[in-house]
């Protein structure tokens, strides 16, 4: 708890810098307007004007907060302007993709650990794939699915699944291999089968690794879902809000969508962290 004060200081500094930057970046517009109207503006007027422009270059924090509040609470939940609605569209694709990607990742990791040929052939590719900007395929996935007649949630979920897949594979292989030779030998003296070893030793031992990679992969699948909404003129979702905001110069809308996405990501990571603590404590591994 002793780090609360430093964190608050840093956050306050960020907000202060933000306000200063907002005044500086938006003052150009104010000066132009004043020059066109032929009036002199004092410094105080510049500051007060830069903080409440309609389409500022950089919206001030309170404008973003107002936009966010307006989007979250000021609309009916089904309204096209509600961030809850757009957030839900993105979140549902994220969760479906996350579940699919995690499930397949765990299965592949089990296969890799049990089959030497699979380990030697697939594992280098799984590691190499982490260095590839996979996100670049997102527009193509959307269009290919659209030409097959599938639109909406599924294409985005596929991108999310793909992005969350590899962190889980790499983390789970590490986790399933984490039991030491002594523990494996003990199970051998019990004449345990491969399945029993997996179920009673390897899977429980891999839990800390699984949760570490789940945190990475849930953030990755949210990014995947957002980027999946960018092309092909998707009409709903946080990514679509970002895109339409950038088309029409609605900076407050962009920042509000951005913060909604950040809140969503933070919430998902916090939920997984809570599940992790609960699970590890019940398994006797908690700190």
């Amino acid at each position: 708890m002793r780090s609360v004060l430093p964190i608050l200081t840093v956050l306050l500094a960020i907000v202060a810098i933000w306000y200063a930057a907002a005044v500086r970046l938006n003052s150009q517009w104010t000066h132009d307007q004043a020059a066109r109207a032929g009036v002199e503006v004092s410094f105080g007027e510049v500051v007060s004007d830069t903080l409440r422009q309609e389409r500022p270059v950089l919206p001030a924090p309170h404008q973003v907060a107002a936009g966010l509040w307006e989007g979250l609470a000021g609309q009916r939940l089904t309204s096209k302007r509600s961030l809850v609605y757009h957030g839900w569209v993105t979140l549902s694709a994220t969760l479906v993709g996350f579940v699919i990607g995690t499930g397949l990742g765990v299965l592949l990791a089990v296969g890799i650990v049990h089959n030497r040929a699979m380990d030697m052939s697939v594992m280098p590719w799984a590691i190499a794939s982490q260095t590839i900007p996979i996100l670049a395929i997102a527009p193509m996935v959307i269009v290919v699915f659209a030409s097959l007649g599938v639109t909406g949630l599924l294409p985005k979920a596929v991108i999310s699944a793909y992005l969350s897949f590899f962190p889980v594979v790499v983390g789970m292989v590490k986790g399933l291999r984490s039991p030491g030779a002594m523990q494996l030998d003990l199970l051998k003296t019990y004449n345990a089968s491969g399945g029993a070893t997996l179920w009673k030793l390897r899977l429980p031992a891999s839990m800390p690794y699984l949760f570490a990679s789940l945190k990475v992969s849930v953030a990755a699948s949210l990014v995947g879902a957002i980027v999946g909404e960018l092309p092909a003129g998707a009409s709903a979702g946080l990514g679509a809000r970002l895109l339409s905001g950038s088309y029409y110069g609605q900076t407050i809308q962009i920042w509000a969508a951005l913060f909604a996405a950040a809140i969503l990501a933070a919430g998902l990571v916090i939920i997984i962290g809570a599940v992790e603590r609960g699970t590890l404590r019940r398994m006797g591994m908690g700190r």
Partner: protein
Amino acid sequence: MIWLWGAVLFWLAAWAFNAWLANQPIARKRAVRLFIPALFGVTLLILWEGLVRGLNVPSVILPAPSAIWTTITRATPVLWGDFVQTILKGALSGYLIGCGAAFLTAIAIDRSPFLQRGLLPVGNFVAALPIVGIAPILVMWFGFDWQSKAAVVVVMVFFPVLVNTVAGLAATDRMQRDQMATWSASYWQSLVKLRLPAAMPFVFNGLKIATTLALIGAIVAEFFGSPIRGMGFRISTAVGQLSLDMVWAEIAVAAVAGSAFYGLVALIEKGVTFWHPSQRARS
């Protein structure tokens, strides 16, 4: 049909060969360790080619590898122009600026435990956020050319590198620092001669994570507006024209560039942190 069965047969045969090879004693040799994944990759390509030809998959859904290769050889100048625009100008300059800024920030806040305790949780938090979303804002600020892409990359790579460098600077133990103190080393001497070298494995960990982020940032930022070249621009327009062979060609270039970039950083790491156990054990 002959294509389909041929490909499936080849796949089964290659898989059986790999399974046999992996259980032989020579599987520990380095050449075999490289050969098995290479054969697996080639098998996948042949299976892909066979499935596309055998099932007559239209090229607007999935082009065959041979068609993609034809596009790569035919459109090399276009691909090279996109590569220069996106990777060399956008991603690389942003990567250098962002990593440099993060590194200097880490050293600047090194003397203040107060700032570290404040910045580290914030940095860790920000590193988990979908920062790509900042792309439309930065494209508005810095225009459509590569400068805005570099700015996105700077923001994306900053926090992972910062967090890793700060963790690395804390990686020396008390006894080593006391040793420097008994030699009456100044703050800067112990920083340059003890703590920075000891931080290098952590720094390079951050730098390696940042390579992928840099490419993703540069490509995705182009979806929000770009001049008429660049990989992200080409991907989004080629998708619109349903010329998927061009999309796959760009993805192949991005994959090769990403792996090469990562490999380069890993190579530098090997040279700088030759003393670290993880590097020594491999030779």
